[in-house]
Amino acid sequence: MLLRVILKRMLAMIPLLLVIATLTFMVIRVVPGGPFDQERNLPPQILANLNAKYHLDKPVLEQYWLYLGRLCHGDLGVSYKYVDRTVVDIIKDAFPVSIQLGGAGLLIAILVGVPLGTIAALRRGTHIDHLAMFVSTMGLSLPLFVVGALLILIFAIWGRILPAALWESPFHAILPAVTIAFKPMAYIARLTRASVLEILQKDWVRIARSKGLSESATIIKHVLRNALIPVVTLLGPVSAVMIAGSFVVEIIYAIPGMGRFFVTAVMNRDYDLIMGITLIFSVVLVITNTIVDVLYMILDPRISYE
């Protein structure tokens, strides 16, 4: 049953990826200007040779078929800007970095967001609740680069406790991870609060209390276990938020991850690299969404995806 859902999702991914590949391809090729425009004083013959080597002189449709053909063999093409590196090479280096950053961020977001939302719900209407909700609203309203700038200013420039940039030791990961965790943390706290509030009204919570179960046991065993189920669904949207966040965070902290490569690739019109990273991002999102659905089915057997 579970396996069938997973298989179905993976099969559905193929047409989705094809549509995304087609749209992205058309979007970036429609624009005037090519990857070698920025190189100044390139003799026209060299330019023509370069374009011929990468098949950029052919009509767009033919380029598209060529690209799809290579894609089927798992060949994502070469980067025009990073000489001698294939897109697969770049992704192999950048992907683990981004996954580590995203994973650390997700961990922080959950570890802070869930308690924050729970406390806010348990102390509903008090100053603690207002404060927690204010913090989470702030998380949704502050631009990431302002968060990053503040953290760097406080901890790296004034405090000199943490490194301000680069990606070398776990120490270097603290500030970026906190920055990227800011927004997901706010989402998680808000949803946890709403969900806990809803569960607190249920009969079984009243029963647990009336049979003399301690408050902490009631909260952990009866409230949180049920309240966190909807929070799991957030993993899908949160990973999309993380990808968007990585564009900013990886630039702020000069981290060689997927987000920064994507932004520079767009700037350089590095066609194959743009395509490759976009496709990897879509695969990641489809997979996280599948994981969410499967987790949801395990946690709440009443739900089926037939």
Partner: protein, 285 residues
């Protein structure tokens, strides 16, 4: 829309305060666009005092060309707020028409139209904006279109859901039985009845657009100088974070407070337009 709504809305100090704040910022932006300057310096006027910290003559300090940051932030309100509101209007128009067609026709049309929205939802907003921005070009127009073309999807889904629900109402059936035309049913009966949640959603589009514009400008794929928005100002300030942090701090504060204000306004509108959802109104946007 009526007295009940106003009464509800007035009870919310946060939402009312936010509305006042938004009005002030908008007035500053409008006055600026009419050429009226609210500070002693023009937004592009250079002075010899470069990179000064906030002082009495320059309440927010000056940048590396000696331009008064206060005047520049006031001037940047035009683009930032303008982009936010324009995006909201675009998302309202496109989303409503798209959602109305899907929700009214139902069946195959609906399935196809919603599939397209699903595909558009498969990637993060910011990534799609970047790709569309690349296609159209990086000027103000490119950013406006990129934001507008991305933000309507949520509105479309919402309008469609409202319409599907309304199909089951008796007054729609009555209208159909009376022989009213499709257009009449859509415009006179269904749209007015689904407007509430759509207005709330559109209010939340404004802060989303302001944040996206500033983020795009910050990573270098949005507006770039000489265009002057809060995003480009913050992006300029970022380069001198170590020596003059106020250059990123003040534009950041303005982005933050206006986004916060629009979010609070949206919360207030939601509570006022639909008191039933009050319990869950503090969920998340």
């Amino acid at each position: 829309m009526n007295k009940q709504f106003l009464k509800q809305f007035k009870k919310m100090p946060m939402a009312c305060g936010s509305l006042v704040f938004i009005l002030i910022i908008s007035i500053i932006a409008i006055l600026n666009s009419m050429g009226l300057n609210l500070s002693p310096y023009a937004f592009d006027q250079t002075t010899p005092d470069a990179l000064q910290s906030p002082s009495f003559t320059h309440p927010m300090g000056t940048d590396e060309l000696g331009r008064d940051l206060l005047s520049r932030v006031f001037y940047g309100a035009q683009l930032s707020i303008g982009i936010g509101i324009f995006t909201a209007i675009m998302s309202f128009v496109i989303g409503t028409i798209y959602g109305a067609i899907a929700g009214y026709c139902r069946g195959k049309v609906d399935a196809i139209l919603m599939r397209i929205v699903d595909v558009a939802y498969a990637l993060p907003d910011l990534l799609v904006m970047i790709l569309i921005g690349v296609m159209i070009g990086r000027g103000t127009l490119g950013i406006l279109l990129a934001l507008g073309l991305v933000s309507w999807r949520g509105t479309a889904r919402l309008v469609r859901a409202q319409f599907l629900q309304l199909h089951q109402e008796e007054f729609i059936e009555a209208a159909r039985a009376l022989g009213q035309s499709h257009l009449d049913i859509i415009c006179k009966h269904m749209l007015p009845n689904s407007l509430g949640p759509v207005i709330v959603a559109v209010t939340f589009t404004v802060p989303m657009a302001i944040l996206s514009e500033s983020t795009l400008s910050f990573i270098g794929l949005g507006l770039s100088p000489p265009a002057c928005s809060w995003g480009t100002l913050a992006s300029d300030g970022w380069r001198s974070l170590r020596t003059t942090p106020h250059l990123i701090f003040f534009p950041g504060i303005f982005i933050f407070t206006s986004v916060l204000a629009f979010n609070f306004l949206g919360d207030g509108l939601r509570d006022a337009l639909d008191p039933r959802t009050k319990a869950s109104s503090k969920q998340f946007f």
